[in-house]
Amino acid sequence: MRTIRLVELAHARSGDKGNNSNIGLIARDPRYYEILCREVTIERVKRHFAGICLGTVERFELPNIHAINFVLHESLDGGGTLSLRTDAQGKTHAATLLMMEVQVDFTP
């Protein structure tokens, strides 16, 4: 087994809706989709965003495009106009998720 970052298996985009951000995580190859579904769980995402996401994490699968959508509640310090953060709209939350490490038994 080797440890890699999600960025080797997926690409992603994130944005804001009120005080929630969403991250669409897309498999770079359909073969990786199953790994994303297995490894990138609600619990792991919640832990990964400790200090950023203060609420719950929702997870939705889009098998047609080999993607998973995560909604991170209370993750924008009040939302786009009220947040004092540099990234008030969660535009880089996708990058944060792509840093996550996963164990795989192949070389992508």
């Binding site: 985009r13 669409g24 897309i26 939705f60 106009t81 540099t86």
Partner: protein, 448 residues
């Protein structure tokens, strides 16, 4: 096979997007419609402030000069333009365009869509917060604008009346693409699958270059010539199938990957993407390659439209100032954090009252929080960013004097203060809610 095809090009993804994009969309090849999106959640607050200062304003002021630039082209090529540039004052926006067209003796029919402004209703009744369930009474005395997100119906009507330019206020962004498709193909207002197709098409191009190679995380180095990025174009067919593409000889990239990234942008449950026109199921869309820079989308399914419109209410939420300072090696991160601590003590000593105080170290923890935070002493430089927000303007103003003294009286090797002296800005909050469809009557009026 000679199916009827309708072509819709995106010209702006937000107010502030590339000014050359709409011109290049008109001149780069044949299109039927040009759609320009100017309104984000935050934009309505900005417009409310401008309208308050001058009742003749409150719309995207970039838009009339843009139309002036492309007017003769769109008339000559019979390109119809649809935009929500009207913001909080679509009539004034349309009048500015009509006046300029008249002075150049180019006759053009401009439709104004109103009925989304519900500010008057907010004084007498409650609009519960969509996420928190809170009562509007918390902010009622501070409301600056309230609008319902209306749908494609009035856009269809405006096009039926022969408008060349359709100017709306707060319309759901993808409805600006669905409107011309319904008009061109005669889709019924309960043809849920076709409507869902049109909404997905709108969703894919409403953020401009984000579906044609911009902000693409798949492989940004492989996207050619972003300096001349081609904004996305929809080629739609009567059965609801459509192709995402861009003009030939433009930069950027349209691939399944770039389209997928935009499909998942700012969505919740992908099986229920709510719009005023239809609830679209993005998990039913099938993507396939249709040539270079061409992606075909088929099979989109929809469910009946909701009984309520979404409402956005913006309200005054105090004052804010942002101050920054750059710290150099050695110990750049630790020094920036020490400087922030000094500022917090001084705020206390001065008795300044703030609702929120926030500090970040750009280069360590600003985007990814504790995941990347460290005290790595090798980092060459970082920027301390310190933000305060509160209702007492005097206290916020007073704070703007606190960062500079750290250059001489704080940890060593601080610089770039002149770029970081904060101005005091007003802050507006965003209050989402719902309103019953029956209470909203969109209106269409044509000016010539």
């Amino acid at each position: 096979m000679n199916k009827k095809k309708v072509t819709i090009a995106a010209g702006q993804g937000f107010w502030g997007d590339w000014l050359e994009a709409p011109v290049r969309q008109i001149q780069g090849g044949a299109i039927d419609y040009l759609m320009l999106d100017y309104l984000a959640e935050v934009t309505m607050s900005v417009l409310a402030k401008q309208k308050e200062a001058n009742p003749a304003l409150g719309y995207a002021r970039d838009f009339p000069p843009l139309i002036e630039r492309i007017l003769s082209d769109i008339v000559q090529r019979n390109v119809k333009v649809i935009s929500n540039a009207g913001g909080l004052n679509p009539r004034a926006c349309a009048e500015a365009i009509v006046a300029s067209a008249r002075s150049r003796q180019i006759p053009v029919k401009v439709a104004v869509i109103t009925g989304d402004d519900i500010t008057a209703l907010t004084s007498s009744r409650d609009f519960l917060h969509l996420e928190t369930g809170g009562s509007l009474s918390q902010i009622r005395d501070r409301i600056s604008a309230a609008n319902a997100y209306i749908g494609a119906d009035p856009i269809v009507e405006a096009l039926q009346q022969g408008a060349q330019i359709v100017i709306t206020g707060r319309v759901a962004d993808p409805s600006m693409v669905l409107g011309p498709l319904r008009f061109a193909f005669g889709w019924k207002e309960n043809d849920w699958d076709r409507l869902a197709s049109g909404i997905l098409a709108g969703h894919i191009i409403e953020c401009g270059a984000q579906s044609s190679g911009g902000n693409f995380s798949g492989d940004w180095r492989a996207v050619p010539d972003l300096a001349h990025v081609g904004f996305p174009i929809i080629e739609a067919y009567e059965d609801g199938d459509f192709i995402v593409t861009k003009h030939p000889n433009t930069g950027g990239l349209v691939s399944q990957a770039t389209v997928k990234e935009q499909m998942v942008y700012e969505i919740g449950d992908p099986t229920a993407y709510y719009t005023p026109d239809v609830v679209a199921d993005f998990t039913t869309a099938q993507l396939s390659d249709a040539g270079p820079d061409r992606v075909r989308i088929t099979g989109v399914k929809g469910k009946p439209r909701p009984g309520a419109y979404k409402v956005s209410i913006s309200y005054f939420h105090g004052y804010r100032t942002v101050s920054t300072l750059v710290y150099s090696w050695p110990d750049a991160i630790a020094k920036a954090k020490a400087a922030a601590e000094i500022l917090r003590i001084r705020i206390q000593d001065l008795g300044l009252q703030f609702e929120k105080i926030h500090s970040e170290v750009i280069g360590a923890n600003a985007c990814h929080g504790q995941l990347t935070d460290s005290n790595n002493e090798l980092i060459p430089e970082v920027m301390l960013r310190f933000v305060v927000q509160g209702y007492h303007e005097r206290d916020v103003k007073r704070f703007t004097r606190e960062m500079a003294p750290l250059v001489l009286g704080g940890p060593p090797f601080a610089t770039a203060y002149s770029g970081g002296k904060g101005d005091v800005s007003e802050v507006y909050g965003y209050w989402p809610s719902l309103i019953d469809r029956a209470e909203i009557t969109p209106r269409v009026e044509c000016l010539v």
